[in-house]
Symmetry: C2
């Protein structure tokens, strides 16, 4: 029996390595428990025998690759690294891996061809938009698309987001109940659904409660928000709702530079709860997005689409996390 | 001519879509310029004809998959999202994509089987360590490993890092030249080569120049560093060197809470130059690591290993970026 006329199996590897077949399987399985020395022995035996766990060949037959394309803008926004870690863990539980395509300029249409070329089992588009035409084409090719942290009116695309309208309403109610009347909204990028919905909810609820809302453009960036808030402080508001935590930090820095104390002179609440929101220098009161649940929902929607189910739209509520930046 | 006995080519797709063959190719190529409507038409025609750009079949023949495994700990350290974006851009230039495996607990040995299963062309291990035995096994299987931002004594593993010893020396020289004599080093995780080398260089140069160095354990984390620096401020130093920027921010927050002004009462210099280092609240003087060059070097080393070249060890110098947190 030579290698040429015998396809090497995991049993051959197990015998050569002096371990169980299950240990061979676990050595090649995501997150499976196996002693490092065992794994080393298995990989060495597999290499010597020419054994390859046959994921690529399996891909050609089953048309599943075990890969999910994650197309992500704004990686350096601290919200998204936490999202990536959560996707890594959630996809591993269903034995899939992330093909990560960063799109710093947000132009997803430009990269969709390269994602499809790798025969991904599905595509998550986070913090960026995909044209409806391309999303439909992906779905027709059996590569379902889930928009993460964005909503859309395209019928073929599943979406998962925080209830951003509800979050805006919650912040307005909370601030007005605490006696704040002159409110400032520091807006994110104007064409993002997250910003549109947060602003809409915040303004609608504030108006219903008789509070005034001014809006400045922060574009989800520190420097833009810092400049916009600094300009707005010539007529200081009572309270600020910043559409993300980075702009919440910028608001606090701008207020201090202007000689205002936070929260004594100005209350600040922001969306998102990245690491620096909890830092002593900011101690930011936030609406926390349920990242783990949102990611789990996105993975469920991909699997559902793989079973032919119709795209759904999931909205999960954010929760108010009180720290020291707002008088409530 | 039916589909069954004719392998669909890109020319068939071009005819059906009414575009050039080059437009078909560009529609499936990373970063290639093609109008969105053209791409949509090409993908629709490809789908109707059953055309697939044949990357998986090609993988089985050539044993290259176009995938590079990126195994990364500490994604939420702001240094690493910038590294990921740089790898995305550098790998795209050589027509490869990132298979991202986050390892929040840093145990790379546990996940190496799943990386190999996807027939990656190479593996980058960033901010984590891989046992020498497994690294050698990967190399023997033709899956070269490059350690990024870590060094090792294993002969089969290529490494790319900043000159961390030199960075420590540069900070000590700079602080002593400005008149600081009582220095504090806020250390990263004790077993990381980055921390060992930064501390060694900083202490050696300070000792040579007659300055005293105390060391506290910050573990590269904000909360640990904040507590350690707060405790150390009972006997305030003149100046602090923090082994990363997150701990530099923690040092500034701890000093202010203690009633010290930065830089008037305390100079602070940190490694890394993440987004918040430039924020008005910190204005942190830093040693900037040359991320783009380090990533380009790592990709070069992977390609060199693919040509059978011996592993090399690249160290690139960091540069002092003066902002407002140190009297220099």
């Amino acid at each position: 029996m030579t290698r040429a006329n015998h396809r090497v199996t995991s049993l051959d590897v197990a015998r050569a390595a002096g371990v169980s077949q299950s240990a061979v399987s676990r050595s090649f399985t995501a997150g499976a428990s196996v002693a490092p020395e065992t794994r080393t022995r298995v990989l060495a035996a597999a290499s010597a025998l020419g054994y390859r766990p046959n994921i690529l060949a399996r891909s050609l037959v089953s048309r599943t690759s075990g890969l999910v394309g994650i197309v992500m803008g704004h990686l350096t926004n601290p919200f998204y690294p936490a999202v990536l870690e959560a996707f890594g863990a959630a996809l591993r539980r269903v034995d899939k891996r992330m093909l990560l395509i960063p799109v710093p300029d947000g132009d997803v249409d430009q990269v969709i061809g390269e994602v499809l070329q790798h025969q991904v089992d599905g595509i998550v588009v986070a913090s960026a938009t995909l044209s409806s035409a391309l999303a439909e084409e992906c779905a027709r090719q059996g590569r379902p698309v889930v928009l993460f942290n964005r909503t859309t009116t395209a019928p073929t695309v599943a979406t998962v987001s925080c209830d951003n309208d509800g979050a805006g309403r919650l912040v307005a109610r909370t601030l007005v109940a605490a006696g704040h009347r002159r409110l400032l909204y520091v807006a994110g990028t104007p064409d993002s659904s997250t910003n549109v919905e947060r602003e809409r909810g915040f303004r609608a609820e504030a108006a219903a409660l008789g509070a005034a809302v001014r809006v400045v453009a922060g574009l989800y960036r520190y420097d833009t928000a810092f400049a916009a808030v600094t300009a707005a402080l010539t007529q200081p508001p009572d309270a600020v709702f910043a559409a993300n935590d980075v702009m919440g930090c910028a608001t606090i820095d701008a207020a201090r530079r202007h000689g205002l104390a936070v929260p004594e002179d100005l209350s600040v609440i922001a969306m998102d709860d990245g690491p620096m929101a909890a830092w002593a220098g900011y101690d930011l009161t936030v609406i926390r997005q349920p990242v783990t649940d949102m990611v789990a929902a996105a993975v469920d929607l991909l699997l559902a689409a793989g079973r032919g189910e119709a795209p759904a739209h999931i909205r999960l509520p954010g929760t108010l996390t009180e720290r020291g930046s707002a008088r409530l």
